[in-house]
């Protein structure tokens, strides 16, 4: 299975020498599907690998540099738009990693710009972004009301000239999810970079990545998210400070699982996995050597789980009913 090989190469790039051509084809397809090819390309720098791989990895690194530039420019534009409000631009996820040159940012594909602002100021931020050329993506009133009432972010906005999306969060999990991270604390302990951009504290960065991967979402792109966590944890000096921070946010169980998964896939493999952990591992490694999903049924299970995580069952039923009435059919 190619996902196993990909994980092995990320963990121990020096084993690249041992792969044959067929295995490389599987690894490349899987890495592209998991959006990890550029990360792998940085990991494989200086390793012995077939010549044919050179241009493939070079292009992947080139794309990552471009992603980084775009993300930083969007952050710059957000800063210009919010300058009159005196609201700090607190970057989350990929943009934060590249802005602070963290290891997790090496080769990271980024996409949307995610920022965190305090709940009280979100109306002003929304107005300033709309005035600076961002527009609503969805005109659907149900979705809009749903976002406003229950989600941890504004409905997505897209810039009319640059076609780039911004997600404005006021906390890091949907309000309906069971853990309730302390958004005030996230903002209060944020770190300011010399250029004025802000990011979460090192511990909160891990907490957010863990919440994003394990308390929200269906584990799609999970290998990449777990790689983020692995890199972010490696930059933590005091693990017990991280644990108590996670406990404060109600995320300590999720952190413990993330640590076991990181150890199993990207680390030394010394920790014991629970049977549920094993299901996660199987879901994470579900790519065959053509880069396609080889465990669709397991994927569906995690899709349902992702909805259960976000909403109490009655509310979920109401949500799915409204979506269904409007014609939405999953898959």
């Amino acid at each position: 299975m190619s996902a196993h090989l990909l994980v092995m190469l990320l963990r121990t790039p020096e084993r690249a020498e041992a792969l044959n051509a067929a295995q490389w084809n599987g690894v490349i397809a899987t890495a592209r599907a998991e959006r990890l090819l550029a990360t792998l390309a940085y990991r494989l720098k200086g390793q012995v690998a077939p010549d044919a791989l050179g241009p493939i990895l070079e292009s992947a690194r080139f794309d990552a540099e471009y992603e980084k530039r775009l993300a930083l420019w969007e952050a710059d534009r957000a800063m210009a738009a919010l300058a009159p409000l005196d609201v700090p631009v607190l970057l989350l996820k990929g943009a934060a990693y590249v802005a602070a040159s963290l290891k997790a940012g090496e080769g990271r594909m980024i996409g949307d710009l995610d920022i965190l602002v305090s709940y009280e100021r979100i109306g002003e931020v929304e107005a300033a972004l709309l005035a600076a050329g961002w527009e609503w993506v969805k005109p659907d009133p149900y979705d809009d009301a749903y976002y406003r009432q229950w989600m941890h972010e504004l409905p997505p906005l897209i810039h009319r000239e640059r076609d780039r999306m911004i997600d404005v969060h006021h906390t890091i999990l949907p309000l309906t999810a069971r853990p309730m991270p302390d958004a005030q604390a996230l903002l209060a302990d944020a770190v300011r970079l010399p250029n004025g951009l802000c990011l979460l504290s090192p511990e909160d960065r891990v907490c957010h990545a863990v919440a994003h991967m394990l308390a929200d979402g269906d584990l799609d792109g999970g290998l990449r998210n777990l790689w983020d966590i692995s890199c972010l944890i490696s930059e933590i000096d005091n693990i017990s400070a991280l644990e108590s921070r996670a406990r404060h946010h109600g995320l300590h169980m999720h952190l413990a699982r993330a640590c076991r998964l990181v150890d199993h896939l990207y680390g030394k493999g010394k920790m014991r996995l629970t049977w549920a952990d094993r299901l996660f591992v199987r879901r994470l490694l579900a790519r065959n050597n053509w880069g396609s999903d080889s465990r669709k049924f397991l994927g569906l299970g995690f899709y349902v789980r992702s909805h259960l995580l976000r909403m109490p069952p009655l509310m979920l039923a109401r949500h799915l009913w409204t979506k269904w009435r409007n014609g939405h059919r999953p898959i």
Binding site: E135, V137, D163, M165, K323, G327, H328
Partner: protein, 148 residues
């Protein structure tokens, strides 16, 4: 992509033969600079956007559902907006997605979309023109927007 039609206007706008931005030497006839003013200042800039351009249409057999499957059941008003079924003057969605080629032919030649009346086709095209990134069919529509 929205701007891609503007380049001819731009060509004409820059009638000056000198290199723009370099002030003429003193002693030569002074050049006029049109700044405009009041309500209307013509845009003098075009930014290049990523283009799937002609390629996507040729590369890919793409399709545009009307409306987006996540809003199936809603009707399409003459201006292309989505309205509740039963709204006067609005049309039910198309039973099948239109291909890029069909939409291109309709946009260009005033031909109607297959299976649609004249008015219905106009409403559908208006819907398609209003597609936004993230909606089904947007990439396909974007690929039909090309200069000439």
């Amino acid at each position: 992509m929205k701007d891609s039609g503007n380049h001819e206007a731009l060509d004409q706008g820059a009638g000056a033969t000198e290199t723009p931005g370099k002030a003429p030497d003193a002693g030569l006839a002074r050049r006029k600079l049109l700044l405009g003013g009041g309500a209307v200042v013509a845009s003098a800039a075009v930014s290049i956007r990523p283009a799937l351009a002609q390629t996507a249409a040729s590369v890919l057999n793409c399709q545009i559902p009307v409306p987006d499957p996540s809003r199936a059941g809603q009707h399409i008003a003459a201006d292309g907006s989505l309205v509740a079924p039963g709204t006067e003057g609005a049309f039910p969605g198309s039973g099948r997605a239109f291909t890029g080629e069909e939409v291109r032919a309709a946009l260009r030649g005033g031909r109607t979309l297959p299976g649609a009346s004249y008015e219905q086709s106009r409403a559908y095209l208006n819907y398609i023109r209003r597609l936004q990134s993230g909606t089904s069919g947007f990439t396909c529509y974007a690929s039909l927007q090309m200069p000439r």
